[in-house]
Amino acid sequence: MSIFIDGSTRLVVQGITGRDGSFHARQMIEYGTNVVAGVTPGKGGQTFDGSVPVFDTVADAVEETGANASVIYVPAAFASSAIFEAADAGVDLIVCITEGVPVADTMRALPYVREKGARLIGPNCPGLIAPGIGKVGILPGQIVAPGPVGIVSRSGTLTYEVIFQFTRQGIGQSTCVGIGGDPLIGTNFVDCLQAFEADPETRAVAMIGEIGGTDEQVAAEFVRDHMSKPVVGFIAGQTAPPGRRMGHAGAIISGSEGTAAEKVKVFRECGIAVAERPADLVGLVDSGLRG
């Protein structure tokens, strides 16, 4: 099993004829993902690589092909519009890879997506991959292997690094999710932890956080209160310099500076074993699986 995607996922690629969209559509198809449609306004009626029909709108794609998930590779200025369109067309899962989406745009899209009953992953994320089942996004397929570990991370390439370390040591993954590095995202750590807890194939979880915000702290409390499976963690940014913070509002609202030291402390207090190096996550998970 896996979380958020499975064998029934029928994917539409928004921006399939663009540079990034076309490259990654091919990669996803090659990995075995069921890409049923593409969308580029004005290019409806064309066929992508001789096999995937292209539509002008997501609604057409859903109606004609029964797509139930969407992945977005459109430029930042149009990304929130693409999210609205996908939600409106009734897909269950929307994965927005696009980086540099204005925060105000994401803020408007989030409640809409929720009202429509869809799940948004991202923006500014590498997407997710269920080894041996399929991938939605840009995670490299060759570094994963099927297995018992769920991986959830705010980073892109650091996620790859961690997955690579696990695979190299012979420990596979159930699903790897990059939730995105933006301040506002559709799916957070807790959503993923909850799904991993419910997934019978996942037996342990590795959570990779970064400095900034309080999502990791909230997630740690969730682990303490609601998780029966072992969770191990890593926080990047121990050596990051303290910011030249302007204004007081950030500190007033969260009561937190979001430093790595603070996050590591909360992880430990909540029973999450913390790795000092990404490579140490493997050993920690291994003992969690044996324990």
């Binding site: 892109g156 390439t157 690094e161 050596t239 609202i253």
Partner: protein, 380 residues
């Protein structure tokens, strides 16, 4: 992006917020002339992208124009949190009856803009938040409807008992919210919002942080960027689409992705070294970006070794390898380089590097250890 107080005040004025007049001086003589034109007492305020200006001696009251010259002389050139003060704002001193706090911030937790007001404004507002959180009213704005008039009014009546003051404050809260939205802010703050003995409510300080991702559609705000507040190489990096933060160590780092870059710096420290910088070359890198990265890293004379840690996804390892070869051809690097490349087109990249006499590693821990040894001069 941060903008200065005087720029934030311009934006507020454009949205109707009552802000006392003010002008910028870059020399003590200019400060004197501006203060003389205002007449009476003035405040001389450092314009620098850092909080805690007052506590650092960057805000001073001056009795008259001559005093303003002296105070400006003391503040200009002052270093506040590593930043040199290049400009001061001269503004008439106000009679203050009360000081309130008014702020709007993009809140990750509630995924909305949250307006915060407190009648206990001033520099100790964070102390108030920590010890007496009930003294701060908070309101999460629903982005679909914006700030509704009754909400602004409700916050304002929580600030002032006097209806005349409350009505002015309600208008200012709405205007601040409009300014926040229009300028693509993630934070906008008026602290303090004062009332005068004559019964006027005014903004006498302002701060704004702008969402970098919104700047592409806000040319007027982009034009407020203070390039003097970045060093030459920070600017060069930004223009090349790299993100670069100089640090104090001697291992120059070049990594793709912010999370991996931070983890690499942490690992340098773990193996006993000190990172010289944070440098993220981003996705879809071309060889030219790598050349720029070299120039930026080498601009720091403290750097003793250069560490490449690339995990190819969108970034192609062969692009990075070509960039390394190209850069070392064009520039006399003269420093040892440790390279790790894994992922997309790794094999091609390793070939390119080998042909040009470079060694390529595939393990992150190994390459970091190597770079730390090279910096320490102990590698064989």
């Amino acid at each position: 992006m941060n903008i200065h107080e005087y720029q934030a005040k311009e934006i507020l004025r454009a949205h109707g917020v009552p802000v006392p007049p003010g002008e910028i001086a870059t020399t003590p003589e200019e400060a004197e002339r501006i203060a003389a034109a205002f007449g009476g007492m003035v405040v001389v305020k450092a314009q620098v992208h850092a909080g805690g200006r007052g506590k650092a001696g960057g805000v001073k009251l001056a009795d008259d124009a001559a005093d303003a010259r002296d105070k400006a002389g003391a503040i200009l050139g002052l270093e506040i949190k590593g930043l040199t003060v290049e400009k001061v704002l001269i503004t008439p001193a106000e009679d203050i009856a009360s000081e309130a706090y008014l702020g709007i911030v993009m809140d990750r937790g509630s995924q909305s803009d949250v307006i915060m007001v407190s009648s206990e404004g001033g520099i100790d507002i964070e102390e108030v938040a920590a010890t007496n959180p009930d003294a701060i009213q908070k309101l999460a704005v629903d982005a679909r409807y914006g700030l509704l008039p009754h909400q602004a009014s409700g916050l304002a009546f929580g600030l002032y008992d006097d209806p005349k003051l409350a009505r002015q404050a309600a208008r200012i809260i709405s205007q601040l919210y409009e300014a926040y939205r229009a300028a693509g802010c993630t934070l906008a703050e008026i602290n303090p919002l004062i009332s005068t003995p004559a019964g006027e409510v005014k903004a006498i300080d302002a701060k704004m942080n702008i969402d970098d991702s919104a700047l592409f559609r806000l040319p007027d705000v982009e034009a407020m960027r203070d390039e003097a507040s970045e060093n030459l190489f920070e600017r060069k990096a930004r223009e090349a689409g790299l993100s670069y933060i100089p640090l104090d160590g001697d291992v120059g780092c070049c990594v793709n992705g912010a999370g991996l870059a931070m983890a690499t710096m942490d690992l340098v420290k773990y193996y006993g070294g000190e990172p010289a910088n944070f440098l993220d070359i981003g996705g879809s890198s071309n060889p030219e970006k790598v050349v720029t990265a070299f120039e930026i890293i080498m601009s720091d004379p403290a750097v003793k070794s250069i560490l490449f840690n690339i995990f190819g996804g969108i970034t192609r390892c062969d692009d990075v390898a070509n960039g390394i070869v190209e850069a070392t051809r064009r520039i006399d690097v003269g420093l040892p380089i440790a390279i790790r490349l894994t992922g997309t087109n790794e094999d091609v990249a390793v070939e390119i590097l080998k042909e040009n006499g470079f060694e390529a590693m595939t393990d992150m821990d190994e390459v970091v250890k190597r770079a730390v040894e090279l910096a320490a001069g102990s590698a064989g």
